[in-house]
């Protein structure tokens, strides 16, 4: 069994090792190793577009994951007690939300929002009274976060609900019998029990948003996320700069992970 797990981890990390190896390539082309160099790290870090794209991706993924976890968990809890047609409609929407291919939701969102913004903008200008200074609705980080949150929130609902479904109803009832308020029951009984599912949902949401290309391609307006930057620059051959970016993102994630683990351990000991 242990050996099996090891093999799976090797499978997961073999491409990562290749990426890291070629990031130290002195040559210009990723798959043609011409000696050791760290120049591509410097180039990536000095490339304002890489840094800009990374910043956009991190902000979008963090806000998306936070919103999706909160909204999704609330909805999953709320849905537990909801029956009838409203529940059926909500369930159907969640299904459809996770089912729709990214390309479809990307283009559909773009068409819908552009149409809506075209209607709303003159209206806002009127309200503002000053056509020059009026805020304009346009595609950008906001629309991207909304599109990502819609999809990942549905994922969170599914995951949290699977966990809620396995909880004993009697726990909540017992808590109520002990005169706990509904909020108290939620905080002290439900939340700790569903916390692993919420955490899993947060991580999945972050990962999805950070890695998504196709929805962002349509919905991000003139913003460039890291996958958009990478997709456009690998079209004519991967340079080791891209590998360097991938390796750095990877190392940063691992570092965060280790720090988080250390903090959790210390918390345990107390």
């Amino acid at each position: 069994m242990r050996l099996y797990s090891l093999v799976v981890y090797v499978f997961l990390y073999a491409p990562i090792a290749i990426i890291a190896l070629f990031s130290f390539n002195a040559g210009r082309h990723a798959s043609d190793f011409q000696g050791f160099s760290v120049q591509w790290y410097g180039r990536a870090l000095n490339n304002p577009f890489v840094m800009d794209a990374l910043e956009t991706s991190l902000i979008v993924a963090f806000i998306t994951a936070t919103l999706a976890s909160i909204l999704g968990t609330l909805a999953a809890v709320g849905l537990q007690g909801l029956r009838g047609p409203a529940r059926a409609i909500f369930d159907a929407l969640i299904y459809i939300a996770v089912m729709i291919p990214g390309i479809v939701i990307g283009i559909a969102t773009l068409i819908a929002l552009v149409t809506v913004f075209d209607v709303m903008n003159p209206w806002i200008e009127n309200l503002w009274g000053d056509a020059e200074g009026a805020p304009r609705l346009s595609m950008g980080r906001g629309s991207l976060i909304a599109a990502h949150t819609m999809f990942t929130m549905a994922l969170v609902i599914i995951i949290v609900r699977a966990r809620l479904g396995t909880l004993e109803k009697s726990l909540g009832e017992a808590s109520a019998d002990l005169y706990a308020t509904p909020l108290g029951t939620f905080r002290q009984v439900t939340l700790p029990l569903i916390a692993p599912a919420v955490l899993a949902g947060f991580l999945l949401s972050f990962t999805f948003s950070f890695d998504d290309f196709i929805i962002a391609f349509f919905v991000a307006g003139s913003e460039t996320t890291l996958p958009i930057y990478i997709f456009s620059s690998i079209r004519r051959g991967v340079t080791p700069e891209i590998n360097a970016i991938g390796t750095m993102v990877m190392l940063a994630s691992l570092l965060l992970l280790i720090v988080a683990q250390l903090i959790l351990r210390r918390g345990d000991r107390k």
């Binding site: 210009r28 082309h29 000095n46 490339n47 304002p48 950008g140 003139s222 051959g237």
Partner: protein, 383 residues
């Protein structure tokens, strides 16, 4: 700003010295006043930049939609230094994608780089802004080879000004053919179905892939004739089992040796040939594509003044020459060519012999919008 105090001639001298390695990057940046531009994060976060007074306030940014490996970052930095507007670059893979994004709306671009055959479509769809030439003093129509500049003019109105041009031919690893390159699309497809089986790539893109199959049969690269397209389709479907891949990202497989033959653009051909001399770039004698790219402003560009300033800046022959040195695509501007070194102007990949160029055709607008060509490619890919 310091770069106002240095003449263009001095700038080019310094650039040459830097390129030859006789001065350090630091010296170059200092002397030319580009040093300030290396404060990259400052440029990326416009609110944090100190805003010195510029001759003309054009806003804090210009958003450019262009192709990969097609610019010199130092030029953008210099532009930012001069005008206060940072250049944000969005890179695309095909004209179809650019058109799709503009048709959907909400692109937010200020400048984009359409290819010759798409411009009439943009005009028909009302997606492109007529250019106010008074804001482009560096555009001198007389300096440009009309062949590579007239597609920017539709019904007498200038919508786009020339950037670079190039060809679409084939790259072949000659070590599997006794050191000899192919010279025709007939060889390209026949040998693919023979000893190059499993080693050939075609573009994931209607214009050039269908165009090459049409050339094989001796038809026009741009044909939308149903019978001719049917012949091309039959050839493509026969060839498909022998293909290594259908992809426009063909450099890696050519470099690794997995693939031996591919449809190829000038710049890629040049880059492959430079690094691996046995990979040759050749044009098909039956024909093929000749293309030219243009700078244009999309309708509804949010920073129009910055767009004009950027295009004008890029058309400056000194700036343009630096662009060519960085990306290696030819320009049609005689003022720029006068500044380029001999070995670039004599490169047979960049500048094929006139008789070879004569066989090539510019892509036609009809191919971009023809539903039959699009469906043909879909049938080919799903076959």
């Amino acid at each position: 700003m310091t770069n106002d105090t240095i003449s263009k001639k001095k700038f080019m001298e310094e650039l040459r010295r830097y390129e030859k390695g006789s001065v350090t990057r630091r010296h170059f940046l200092h002397v030319t006043g580009l040093g300030a531009a290396t404060a990259v994060m400052g440029a990326a976060v416009p609110g944090l930049r100190p805003r010195p007074a510029f001759a003309q306030d054009i806003g804090d940014r210009a958003i450019l939609a262009t192709w990969p490996n097609y610019h010199d970052q130092a030029n953008f930095d210099a532009f930012t230094d001069k005008t206060g507007a940072a250049v944000q670059v969005n890179v695309f893979g095909s004209n179809e994608e650019m058109l799709a994004k503009l048709q959907a709306g909400g692109s937010g671009w200020d400048v984009y780089v359409p290819t010759n055959y798409t411009i009439t479509t943009y005009v028909e769809e009302d997606l492109i802004e007529p250019l106010d030439l008074s804001k482009l003093p560096n555009y001198d129509p007389a300096a440009f080879d009309a062949r590579f500049s007239d597609a920017g003019i539709v019904d007498g109105v200038v919508y786009a000004v020339p950037k670079n041009w190039g060809t679409t031919g084939m790259a072949i690893n000659t070590s599997h053919n006794g050191g000899k390159a192919f010279d025709s699309w007939k060889q390209f497809f026949d040998r693919t179905m023979d000893d190059y089986s499993g080693r050939t790539m075609v573009h994931d893109y209607q214009l050039t892939t269908i165009g090459a199959a049409l050339n094989y049969h001796g038809y026009s690269f741009n044909s939308v004739d149903e019978a001719e397209l049917a012949d091309a389709e039959k050839l493509l479907i026969d060839v498909k089992p022998h293909l290594f891949a259908i992809t426009s990202d063909y450099q890696p497989a050519m470099r690794s040796g997995d693939a031996w033959l591919t449809i190829c653009w000038t710049g890629d051909g040049k880059q492959l040939n430079t690094d691996i001399p046995e990979i040759a770039f050749a044009l098909g004698k039956e024909g093929g594509e000749l293309w030219s790219d243009y700078y244009a402003i999309p309708k509804g560009a949010p920073h129009k003044e910055a767009a004009y300033a950027l295009i004008n800046f890029m058309l400056d022959p000194d700036v343009n020459a630096r662009e060519v040195l960085a990306h290696g695509y030819p320009v049609a501007d005689s003022r720029t060519n006068a500044l380029l070194p001999e070995e670039i102007l004599n490169d047979p990949i960049l500048y094929p012999a006139a008789e070879k160029l004569d066989a090539l055709e510019f892509g036609a607008a009809a191919t971009l919008t023809d539903p039959n060509r699009a469906e043909l490619l879909a049938r080919f890919k799903s076959a």
